[in-house]
């Protein structure tokens, strides 16, 4: 006898339905935690010591990997485009192009990716371990809101420190691109610096700083929310960490598109 529940169609629909349900639950949790975070931030209920600690962790601890990723990416791009531009007689644009790419896009998005893998994943696994170990429940029984104590400092650290990470990593990226273009296209430092200014606009820098702050806040809140809402055991800690990383990647890609559409379309 035909049983629809045993068909591949049913399984596929079920899988899609579960995926959609999980998506909506995660979105709801992030929204709820973000609302509560804003509630505390707007009332200035901020744990300054914890915020400073998390800021140091966010920016300083992640800096080596962030600078390596941004520096290497910009060096590789410079390695690819500098000789080609030099062949076309467009050496004068190498600096401009490097600055443009770094400030408008690469500095922010590559720093974001590095921060997600280094800091976002650690936020998520840390809070998930606390949740499954009942430490978050203990905090609630002791009448201390875990959002105020754990999430707000991490969120503020992301919003405040990400622009600094962006500035440092973009600077390193531009320097790396300059060094590589010197060796691959015989471009003098002076020419590189001169053309650099043609691609640097205050407006671009301001937009990039704003974008970095959005990226930082987004990474922090998604990572904290995925960790905070974990139930179960060690397996769920792993799932929460993976979810935090995937969602953060997707979220900053979407933000990047929105920023590009609003400011550069």
């Amino acid at each position: 006898m035909f049983n629809f529940k045993e068909t591949l169609t049913y399984s596929t629909i079920n899988l899609l339905f579960d995926g959609m349900k999980d998506f909506l639950i995660t979105l709801g949790n992030v929204g709820k935690d973000l609302t509560k975070t804003f509630y505390y931030v707007l009332r200035l209920r901020i744990n300054l010591r914890a915020t400073i600690e998390q800021s140091a962790r966010f920016a300083v601890d992640s800096l080596p990997i962030t600078l390596t990723i941004v520096g290497m990416t910009s060096a590789i791009i410079s390695m690819q485009i500098s000789p080609e531009l030099a062949k076309q007689g467009a050496e004068g644009y190498i600096g401009m192009l490097s600055a443009l790419v770094m400030v408008r896009e690469l500095g922010c998005i590559m720093s974001g990716f590095a921060i997600i893998s280094m800091i976002g994943s650690s936020f998520a696994s840390e809070l998930a371990s606390m949740a499954v170990g009942e430490q978050i429940s203990a905090m609630r029984v002791l009448k201390v809101d875990p959002i105020e104590y754990l999430v707000v400092p991490r969120f503020l650290a992301g919003v405040i420190m990400m622009p600094f990470v962006f500035i440092v990593s973009s600077f390193i990226g531009i320097v790396c691109a300059g060094v590589i273009s010197h060796f691959t296209a015989n471009l003098s430092t002076l020419n590189y610096i001169n053309s650099l200014w043609q691609g640097l606009y205050i407006r671009d820098i301001m937009i990039a700083l704003l974008k970095a702050a959005f990226f930082g806040g987004t990474i922090s809140i998604i990572s904290c929310s995925c960790g905070y809402s974990t139930r179960g055991g060690a397996k769920e800690v792993g799932i929460a960490t993976t979810k935090a990383v995937v969602w953060s990647f997707l979220a900053i890609a979407v933000w990047d598109y929105i920023f590009a559409a609003i400011f550069y379309l």
């Binding site: 430490q135 029984v141 201390v144």
Partner: protein, 242 residues
């Protein structure tokens, strides 16, 4: 006043986890809550402590006092040392934040640690302590705000018999010191006999027995007989409980 629980209900999906549970515990008394796994014991504690919402019923406690809870695996904050774990609510809660200076805080922590038989371990981290010591630090943290209701979730789980006896003694001691109403969820008979004044037995979310501890041990009740003898035969179906 202690704690009064009236007609408590809790549903998970469509399954009744707590079904019309009512009891009261007076100040200075300890109620033991026993039952097989899945009978609703931990859910009951979570509802009383405010970690879960009930689907019906009323819980009344002494006004303006905290409800403290200790957890099965202590739930100490592993990123804080013992001093900061115990002082945590006093440091982080708005109403206490400016009430005590550092010297007073240190004194309070010292006193609470002495109450659970631990001294001079303020600088240690939870990972440096044994399971029994972690439980006692958890007790000290729970009582730091002088609560009038203390909930213990499996306080002797995972401990050796001697450490269990020690923990049971501290449950009695804290109850007497604070004149608190205590509820102990446990599987261990020694905890019931040594630390509890009254006992309720839960099965499928319902109270199937209530009485004094000494009566519980010799009651002519098929549920208590099955529980005490740890028998598979009896009115409680093990399959449905675990």
């Amino acid at each position: 006043m202690g704690i009064i629980v009236k007609n408590l209900y809790k549903l998970f999906d469509d399954k009744k986890v707590l079904d019309d549970v009512s009891f009261s515990v007076q100040d200075g008394k300890t109620l033991g809550v026993v039952g097989f796994s899945g009978s609703g014991k931990s859910t009951l504690l979570k509802i009383i402590s405010g970690l879960l919402y009930s689907d019906g019923g009323v819980i009344e406690t002494t006004e303006n006092t905290d409800i403290a809870m200790t957890f099965q695996y202590s739930a100490l904050f592993d990123f804080l040392d013992v001093y900061h774990n115990i002082a945590f609510p006093l440091l982080e809660r708005k109403e206490y934040r400016k009430k005590y200076n550092t010297k007073e805080l240190k004194q309070i922590v010292k006193e609470k640690l002495a109450l659970v038989g631990l001294e001079g371990i303020e600088d240690k981290f939870p990972s440096e302590l044994s399971g029994g010591m972690q439980k006692r630090v958890g007790f000290a943290r729970a009582i730091v705000t002088n609560p009038k209701t203390i909930l213990y979730d499996e306080p002797t789980a995972g401990l050796d018999p001697v450490s269990s006896t020690l923990i049971e003694d501290y449950i009695v001691r804290l109850k007497n010191e604070l004149n608190a109403a205590c509820i102990v969820v446990t599987h261990q008979m020694s905890t019931i006999t040594r630390a509890c004044d009254d006992v309720i037995l839960l099965y499928e979310g319902k109270i199937v027995y209530r009485g004094k501890t000494e009566e519980f041990l010799k009651a002519d009740n098929p549920y208590t007989k099955q529980f005490i003898s740890a028998s598979l035969e009896g009115p409680m179906e093990i399959k449905s409980a675990i």
